[in-house]
């Protein structure tokens, strides 16, 4: 099966592959879509699940299965990857509801230690993760979508199924809270240019 998936010409755009899935139930085309997007999606879910690799992969698998089942409802109103993030976010949310718990802690630590970063870089990341641990779930998710998943505010609103204004507010509040915790990184002048 994997050999067949890898045989797909790399030049196909997501849209072509989606069309092939829609018209012919082409599993190989869907496999190519999975192969393309699995890394981004799993990385995003690892952040959302506080580095729980097993849970992240389970949700990623559930996400792709739901995408396969519901691909007819994909209306090209967003990029395919954004649509996947939306499904993944909903799957993650129902997982959180099932367990009635969500605790933000040093979310990125497991992968940071393994990624071979320099000590200084790890220190910055650890501080960032600790600062993010003080955010509410809504603020944390807005930061993850807008910065780590590189989505626009509009796309983040689509993924999180909340109004655009709420995304912007959450981002502002999150950065305000983080600024207080990361004060040591602020330039020493700290007065602002226009002050």
């Amino acid at each position: 099966m994997e050999a067949q998936i890898l045989k797909q010409p790399p030049g196909f755009a997501d849209q072509d592959l989606i069309t092939r899935v829609l018209l012919n139930d082409d599993r190989n085309a869907f496999g190519e879509l999975v192969r393309r997007h699995q890394s981004q999606l799993r990385a995003s879910l690892r952040r959302m699940t506080n580095g729980n690799l097993g849970l992240a992969d389970d949700i990623a698998q559930e996400t792709f299965i739901l995408a396969w089942k519901n691909i007819k409802s994909f209306r090209y109103e967003a990029r395919f990857s954004t649509w996947l993030y939306r499904i993944a976010f909903n799957a993650w949310q129902s997982e959180v509801r099932k367990k009635h718990e969500f605790q933000l802690d040093d979310a990125l630590m497991p992968e940071l230690e393994e990624s071979g970063c320099q000590a200084e870089s790890i220190g910055v990341r650890r501080d960032l993760a600790q600062a993010m641990a003080g955010l509410t779930v809504g603020e944390y998710n807005a930061i993850i979508q807008c910065y780590y998943n590189d989505l626009s505010h509009d796309e983040a609103a689509f993924v999180l199924s909340i109004p655009l204004g709420t995304v912007k507010t959450n981002i502002l509040k999150a950065k305000e809270k983080m600024r207080a915790k990361l004060a040591a990184y602020e330039p020493e002048t700290g007065q602002g240019v226009a002050a």
Binding site: Q38, A43, D57, V124, Y147, R179, G192, V193, A194
Partner: protein, 115 residues
């Protein structure tokens, strides 16, 4: 907008951007993920071509019956039928029938070939 806020250097924003950029560059190996997923992917049920033709056809037929039975259109069809039955068959009438039948045949043939 407050100039003080807009011109101030946003350190948190920059730190997040740098960190996110570095993390996005890290690729998670597939490591059999796609293969395992494709094995668990359910097969989608599809309607057979016959059913895809029969279901809308039956609904159309049913709707037509309702329309004829429950509206004044019914008497129009009955009158037209009676007119046709009592009409003397002239060559022009036969010609009209042939043309109409050909058009119906082409339409149905076209619909069936779309399958």
């Amino acid at each position: 907008m407050n100039n003080h806020l807009t011109l101030q250097k946003d350190t948190v924003d920059e730190m997040l951007k740098v960190d996110a950029f570095a993390l996005r560059g890290e690729h998670i190996d597939d490591d059999g993920f796609t293969l395992r997923l494709m094995d668990t992917l359910p097969t989608r049920k599809r309607l057979s071509p016959v059913l895809r033709f029969v279901i809308p056809f039956c609904f159309t037929l049913l709707a037509s019956v309702f329309a004829v039975a429950l509206t004044s259109a019914g008497s129009y069809f009955f009158d037209a039928y009676m007119d046709l039955m009592t009409e003397t068959m002239t060559p022009s009438l036969v010609g009209t029938f042939v043309v109409l039948c050909t058009l119906y045949a082409v339409s149905i043939g076209g619909a069936l070939s779309e399958k």
